[in-house]
């Protein structure tokens, strides 16, 4: 068999391939040759073949069949073999491979080899990719080499130890004795790697950290070494642009940072050297700035005196003006970290930071934006916002969402006036409206609701914005909601802040209907506009037009829209008397701490907030207003209003059918009771215990009318104390026939997990002989079995 082709030749050949297919063919041919060569156990050319395999692996081709060959090379006596073998191991044999562990013995032998370069290969391989098992097995060898006087091996052993500690943290202790005189070495390589090792130990273990601080007096040693580096003259071996061993300086500074953190004594001991480095380091090249950067990070993290901190921030400020964009980037990152703790010092550089918003580099722009938001306060809000809004106009789309959210937050915290606040919101919505986050919409609505005196101005501006552009959904949603709420202010031209516009009801309805049919509107937006149109039925006089729109959408394909339309239709038909109350103006909302449903606080002095759980109803409007009604009437602090489900689309036994079914089966024989009996209206309660949940009591009310005339538009409402939950199902009818000719029944389900005494407040409304009647009552005579 002819000798396998040389590596160089293979590379040359493959590079002549003109297509991917051609390359693949060459590779396959060569792989086949290599495979057969491996099968023949050819020792002479194994090295060459594995080298070729590694090249092909780099091109992206599979090379796993070479793994065992690497092991054989490592076990060989020839240095060339070992070199390629270990390289192959590092490329092909990471700890996920099965044969990985087979290396252990070879590595162990080579760690004790007579030639230091072989030992070096073993240390390097172990330190780059040794698995935890391997590290456990060989930690002892590494520790031995850490104590050798051969600096070539010692420095490698130190970094190998770092890897061992990362893989098997428990082994940290065993390296402790060997670290004793590491720092008295003259060799920079050993010094550098020792500092890395010490850093790793201190970062991982607070005990180690304390030990090194107190017992070993590490800080003075490091200070001394650093001082020598700075003071001693030119050292050609370690010089980089006039600075002596910057790599070592940076590592020492980083270790000092860890030692000085939260420790007064250590911080004091390093104050001088930090000041010296900060003031004496050459800043014309990147290497000097790298050291300054690390120094600044250290100063900010330890307990440094204020003068030093100011010095550090000023260095960062100078960085911001540097021509080198890398330096500017690093400055912005560091300032971001320190802006919380040294706010005033960073404020001094605000204008430079704001200038960075115009930088060409994306990363710099992002950091400048984050920092700018962090620097906004009550004093600079107007100026800053101008810059940030300008930035929002011109920045890349990837920034717009974050910027918009930031603007909203800042505006909320520091707005100098409500008018300014609304204007800022308008600006964001109109210029970056499609990038605004979804959760901003409810937040904005809440803000607008709470700025009572600005309602007219807000709705006018939003209306005008809609006329221009209906493509930006968040803008459209907020605008629809506002028009629905404050449409009356819009048409009556009540705006004080600016020239009121003349707009008719029909024009407003045209716009809203336009949203419903537009292709640009999302389903959510359509929902908003339909609800808005509905709300206007109590604010505008053109009710018939609204009725028509609503009934059209009752057959919409969009289920959400259809449901809303049907419900609103029902409002017009059966529950028209409730419509004004349901659709009245929203009260001021107080933001709850969590992002959950908003708590509603009555403005008339009610102290207890109540949590409202809307079911299937369009968000916010209906149940809230109904809750308001009940809160009005009930007045007490401990009562939770209940939502009456009045959906004709839901059959009476819907939502909890299981309970109903099982409820019928139970025979707890709880005696019925009369809850109310007045003016001819009698309401009886009958009980069932719902299995399997004994905490739920099912009450059926029976309303009967002993007067001569029918009671029409009969509505029964109920409220229970806070520890209960109540659900009212649909009534059988709204008319209680006269002279006890029939009863209206309705099912109430009460959840009573705490088994407290059941109490209820009820409200009855009906029309008798043309006059409306309303009454309130307390029901306290529940039989004990109904709640025990």
């Amino acid at each position: 068999m002819p000798a396998p082709i040389r590596l160089r030749e293979l590379i040359r050949t493959i590079r002549t391939a003109r297509t991917q297919a051609e390359e693949r063919e060459m590779i396959q041919k060569e792989c086949a040759a290599i495979r057969s060569s491996f099968r023949e156990e050819d020792n002479t050319y194994r090295c060459r073949n594995v080298a070729k395999l590694l090249y092909m692996h780099m091109l992206g081709y599979p090379a796993h069949f070479g793994q065992l060959e690497c092991l054989k090379l490592i076990a060989s006596q020839k240095f060339t073999d070992k070199r390629i073998g270990y390289l192959g191991a590092m490329l092909l044999l990471d700890e996920r491979q099965d044969v990985h562990l087979l290396m252990t013995n070879c590595i162990k032998n080579d760690l004790n080899h007579s030639t230091q370069y072989v030992q070096g290969l073993a240390l390097c391989t172990l330190g780059c990719m040794g698995s935890s098992e391997m590290c456990r097995d060989l930690a002892g060898e590494v520790e031995k080499l850490l104590k050798t006087s051969n600096s070539y091996l010692r420095k490698k052993a130190a970094l190998c130890a770092v890897h061992v500690i990362r893989k098997v943290p428990e082994l940290m202790e065993m390296f402790l004795p060997a670290t004793k005189n590491l720092l008295s070495e003259k060799n920079h390589g050993v010094l550098h790697t020792s500092v890395v090792l010490l850093t790793e130990m201190c970062e991982r273990s607070p005990d180690m950290l304390a030990h090194f601080r107190k017992n070993e007096k590490l800080v003075p040693q490091l200070v001394r070494i650093l001082k020598n580096l700075i003071m001693s003259g030119y050292s050609p071996e370690h010089d980089v642009s006039g600075i002596s061993d910057p790599f070592l300086q940076v590592r020492i500074l980083r270790l000092l940072r860890i030692l000085g953190k939260s420790d007064d004594d250590s911080s004091e001991a390093m104050n001088d050297i930090l000041a010296q480095v900060a003031t004496n380091t050459e800043t014309s090249k990147n290497v000097g700035n790298a050291i300054l950067y690390e120094t600044v990070l250290t100063i900010m993290d330890i307990k440094s005196e204020s003068g030093l901190r100011v010095l550090a921030i000023n260095i960062l400020g100078r960085f911001l003006l540097n021509n080198d964009k890398n330096i500017r980037y690093v400055a912005l990152t560091s300032l971001l970290k320190t802006v919380q703790t040294d706010h005033n010092a960073v404020q001094r550089h605000r204008s430079t930071i704001v200038d960075c918003l115009k930088d060409l580099d994306v990363s710099i722009k992002r950091r400048a934006m984050e920092l700018s938001f962090a620097l906004v306060n009550g004093n600079n809000i107007r100026g800053m916002m101008k810059e940030l809004l300008y930035f929002l106009d011109s920045c890349d789309p990837e920034f717009k969402a974050d910027c918009a959210s930031g603007v909203f937050l800042a505006a909320e915290k520091y707005a100098p006036s409500k008018r300014w606040h609304i204007d800022t919101i308008m600006r964001v919505l109109t210029t970056a409206g499609s990038y605004v986050r979804d959760d901003s919409v409810p937040n904005l609505i809440q803000l607008i609701t709470n700025s009572v005196e600005m309602h007219a101005y807000t709705v006018q501006r939003l209306y005008k914005a809609l006329l221009d552009d209906i493509s930006q959904q968040p803008l459209v949603q907020v605008a629809s909601w506002c028009i629905g709420e404050y449409g009356d202010l819009l048409v009556s031209g009540q705006c004080e802040e600016e020239e009121p516009i003349q707009v008719t009801e029909d024009e407003v309805l045209d716009v809203l209907e336009g949203l419903l049919v537009s292709n640009l509107s999302t389903p959510v937006t359509r929902g908003y506009s339909l609800t808005a149109i509905m709300k206007l039925s109590t604010r505008f006089s053109s009710v018939n037009r609204i009725k028509k729109v609503v009934s059209i959408y009752g057959s919409s394909i969009d289920v959400e829209l259809q449901q809303r339309a049907v419900e609103y239709n029902a409002l017009f038909k059966k529950y028209d008397h409730m419509r004004p109350a349901l659709l009245e103006r929203m009260p001021i909302m107080e933001k709850s701490a969590s992002n959950g449903p908003t708590e509603i606080v009555q403005t008339n002095g009610e102290t207890e907030p109540s949590v409202v759980e809307p079911k299937h109803l369009p968000p916010v409007t209906q149940p809230v207003n109904q809750a308001n009604d009940l809160l009005d009437l009930l007045g007490g602090n401990d009562v939770v209003p209940v939502i009456q489900t009045t959906m004709p689309t839901k059959p009476a036994s819907a939502g909890g059918e299981l309970l109903d079914l099982l409820g019928d089966l139970s025979l707890s024989a709880i005696p019925p009771m009369t809850a109310y009996n007045k003016n001819g209206l009698k309401i009886d309660f009958t009980f069932e215990r719902a299995n399997p949940n004994p905490n739920i009591a099912v009450i059926t009310i029976h309303a009967s009318n002993s007067t001569e005339a029918d009671m029409t538009d009969f509505v029964f409402q109920a409220a229970v104390p806070k520890t209960f939950q109540l659900q009212l199902l649909s009534p059988s009818s709204n008319v209680v026939p006269a002279l006890n000719q029939g009863t209206v029944t309705q099912v109430i389900r009460v959840l009573n997990p705490q088994k407290q005494q059941l109490r209820m407040r009820i409200k009855l409304t009906y029309t008798l002989k043309g006059s409306p009647v309303q009454d309130l009552a307390e029901v306290n005579n529940f039989p004990p079995q109904s709640w025990q």
Partner: protein
Amino acid sequence: MQFMLLFSRQGKLRLQKWYVPLSDKEKKKITRELVQTVLARKPKMCSFLEWRDLKVVYKRYASLYFCCAIEDQDNELITLEIIHRYVELLDKYFGSVCELDIIFNFEKAYFILDEFLLGGEAQETSKKNVLKAIEQADLLQETKEQKVKLSILH
């Protein structure tokens, strides 16, 4: 340092050194994505970018991109110096290094890297010492080969 990649302007990989254990598939994916991201950067942009949860430091030397992924607490500016030092070492070893040298002698490029960095950290800060070690190791290679040749003659 978590890994270092060298790739050409056409996106061809010339060297890959991984200091964290990842499957071949993951390595390929990371390489592909990172190469794409870096190649898309405009010349005026800074040498740092945030990528996944890592910081990436890259610098272009002639037709080769040198790309390092470092951790949050590592110093980006000194990483640039590390990259520069590696280029200097290659330059001294090959004598005015160019991409072709690294293509045809990739194993030497790895050997030099392994004398400079170990486990992602610098093990030797003196240029002279790194080059000396490589020189000696190279001699060791030749010496052994010479010995073999001599024995065949006998």
